[in-house]
């Protein structure tokens, strides 16, 4: 197919890509915390961080220094090993999920650079043909971070937090999977590149117009899977202190945070590529710019919703998932199937 035209993907290129993803996404995730604080502040008519650097831009650096130098506390009766590896599971699965997401276009390193000159760096680190499912699977595996963290820390808030993790992630995985099944049926492929190709016809060919229900369902389930506000039950301060993160401090807590923001970016990328036209040019705007704008809009939507809407109760969460969203998703799939057959 058209992949044969491209230069060969070497292992060096993949490793470089992985390093780029790690570096860029962790920086962007850090910047996401700044953005979140700023946007929430503006919506509450506050200024937000202002004192570290111009407009508080260096707040990330200050927070990073603080997190790195804080004492790493392990509670007395906690299961030390599991307690210590749990945050890295969250961060690792979030970044592994990004391996199947196209981030930045392909490029070849110029020849004049020593050692690495001429290496082709692909846009996707691991171009497997079940990309969407892989991302979902890795996000499903990401549930172990909060789960093990809560169970290992010998704290009742922790165990309530991890119980909520289990029910929330397990339930909403179903909705995520079913909601993107209808677009997958239309495209006939699980690769994000094929999704992009499907929507080349400009604004009118976006998947949103064909599958509005699936888009809304995916957004709702994506909010739940990334633990964003209307479904922010895992670490709802009013009810369970910090949930699974109650006993964590320093960089281990920071890893949960980075994982959460990386997951937010992943969900934004999937929504932008699958439903909102991907990285095709829109009129006169270049594709790389428009995809960044779309991802930024979905990210902003998460912050906007956090500023506007209240939490829901855990029983309402389950009610919403199993009695509302899942039937709608199934009906959507059935209707899509009928329309495709006719």
């Amino acid at each position: 197919m058209e992949i044969a035209v491209l230069p060969e993907v070497t292992s060096a290129g993949v490793i470089i890509k992985a390093i780029i993803i790690l570096a860029i996404i962790s920086a962007v995730a850090g910047f996401g915390t700044y953005l979140e604080r700023k946007v929430l502040a503006f919506m509450q008519r506050r200024l937000g961080p202002m004192h570290v650097g111009p407009f508080g831009l260096l707040q990330i650096a200050a927070d990073g220094i603080k997190l790195f130098t804080k004492e790493d506390i392990v509670p007395q009766n906690a299961n030390k090993l599991i307690f210590q590896i749990a945050p890295s599971i969250t961060a690792a699965t979030a970044f592994i999920a990004l391996a199947a997401v196209p981030v930045f276009p392909d490029f070849t390193i110029p020849e004049w650079i020593p050692l690495l000159g001429g290496v082709f760096v692909p846009s996707i680190a691991a171009d497997i043909n079940v990309g969407v499912l892989f991302i979902l699977g890795m996000m499903a595996a990401g549930l172990y971070g909060p789960l093990l963290a809560g169970m290992a820390q010998a704290n009742k808030w922790g165990i309530i937090g991890s119980a909520r993790t289990a029910i929330q992630f397990l339930s909403y995985e179903v909705v995520t999977g079913l909601s993107i099944l209808a677009p997958i049926m239309l495209v006939g492929s699980l690769s994000l590149v094929d999704f992009n190709e499907y929507q080349t016809g400009g604004f009118a060919s976006w998947m949103v117009w064909q599958q509005p229900v699936a888009f809304i369902l995916f957004l709702i389930a994506g909010f739940a899977e990334t633990n964003r506000t209307p479904f922010d039950l895992l670490e709802n301060e009013a009810e369970v202190i910090s949930g699974y993160a109650t006993e964590y401090s320093g960089m281990r807590w920071g890893m949960f945070f980075i994982g959460e923001y990386a997951n937010m970016i992943t969900v934004s990328v999937i929504a932008a590529v699958m439903f909102m036209g991907g990285y095709n040019d829109l009129g006169f705007i270049a594709g790389w710019l428009i995809v960044i704008l779309k991802i930024a809009f979905i990210f902003f939507l998460m912050l906007w919703v956090r500023a506007s809407w209240p939490h829901i109760r855990p029983d309402q969460l389950m009610w919403l998932c199993w009695k509302v969203l899942m039937p709608i998703a199934v009906i959507n799939i059935v209707i899509t199937g009928f329309v495709m057959m006719v």
């Binding site: 292992s11 009766n77 906690a78 299961n79 090993l81 599991i82 590896i85 497997i128 043909n129 079940v130 499912l133 892989f134 979902l136 699977g137 890795m138 499903a140 595996a141 549930l143 172990y144 789960l147 093990l148 169970m151 290992a152 010998a154 165990i159 991890s162 119980a163 289990a166 029910i167 992630f169 397990l170 995985e173 999977g177 492929s189 699980l190």
Partner: protein, 188 residues
């Protein structure tokens, strides 16, 4: 070469992790190592080129089944070790070893006789999910449908067992009164 390195790495890690699962006395350790082993099995699927199966392994075993185990674990105090009262350790070791040996012999017998032959060899130009779908809906159609019906039966049974008082809400006043009435009746 990379495939071989990956295969041996994954195999050693899987065996090691599953040994931890069996041998440890701590519930949390055994659960974590089981989940990690499941992830690595998905890794073996990926090295074989069975992307779809690998992803399904991730979603179903790691994401769903192990999480349900974890849910059951929440009833225990996972920070304490489990007290096992084995009376005869050597007998268990012997039986377990024999079972494992038998399993290995059964599984490796076709390879020894070099009789192994793919009934549905991979077709060119067919992606992984499509291949799985073709096999599933042609040769294994009946078992697939039977399994689906069985799962449906299990689901309905589960709902009926768990949902006896499902239509009562504790959030409205009238329902609380109803609930109190029910409790009083139970006491009688």
């Amino acid at each position: 070469m990379y495939e071989q390195i990956a295969f041996y790495l994954f195999s050693v890690l899987i065996i090691g992790l599953f040994l931890v699962t069996v041998l440890t006395k701590n519930v949390l350790y055994s659960m974590t190592s089981l989940a990690a082993g499941m992830v690595l099995i998905a890794g073996i699927f990926f090295t074989l080129g069975a992307d779809f199966l690998g992803v399904v392994q991730l979603i179903v075993y790691v994401g769903a089944i192990m999480a349900l185990y974890a849910f059951a674990m929440m009833f225990f105090d996972v920070t304490k070790d489990v007290k096992e009262n084995n009376t005869n350790g050597s007998l268990i070791f012997l039986l377990g070893g024999l079972t494992a040996l038998m399993f290995v012999i059964i599984m490796s017998a076709p390879i020894m006789s070099e009789n192994i032959q793919a009934l549905y060899p991979p077709m060119a130009g067919v992606t992984n999910p499509q291949a799985v779908g073709m096999v599933l809906f042609t040769k294994y159609l009946v078992p697939f449908e039977v399994a689906a019906v069985m799962l449906l039966v299990a689901m309905i049974a589960g709902i009926i067992l768990a949902g006896k008082k499902m239509d009562q809400s504790l959030t409205t006043e009238d329902d609380v009164i109803v609930e109190i009435d029910i409790l009083e009746e139970d006491e009688k």
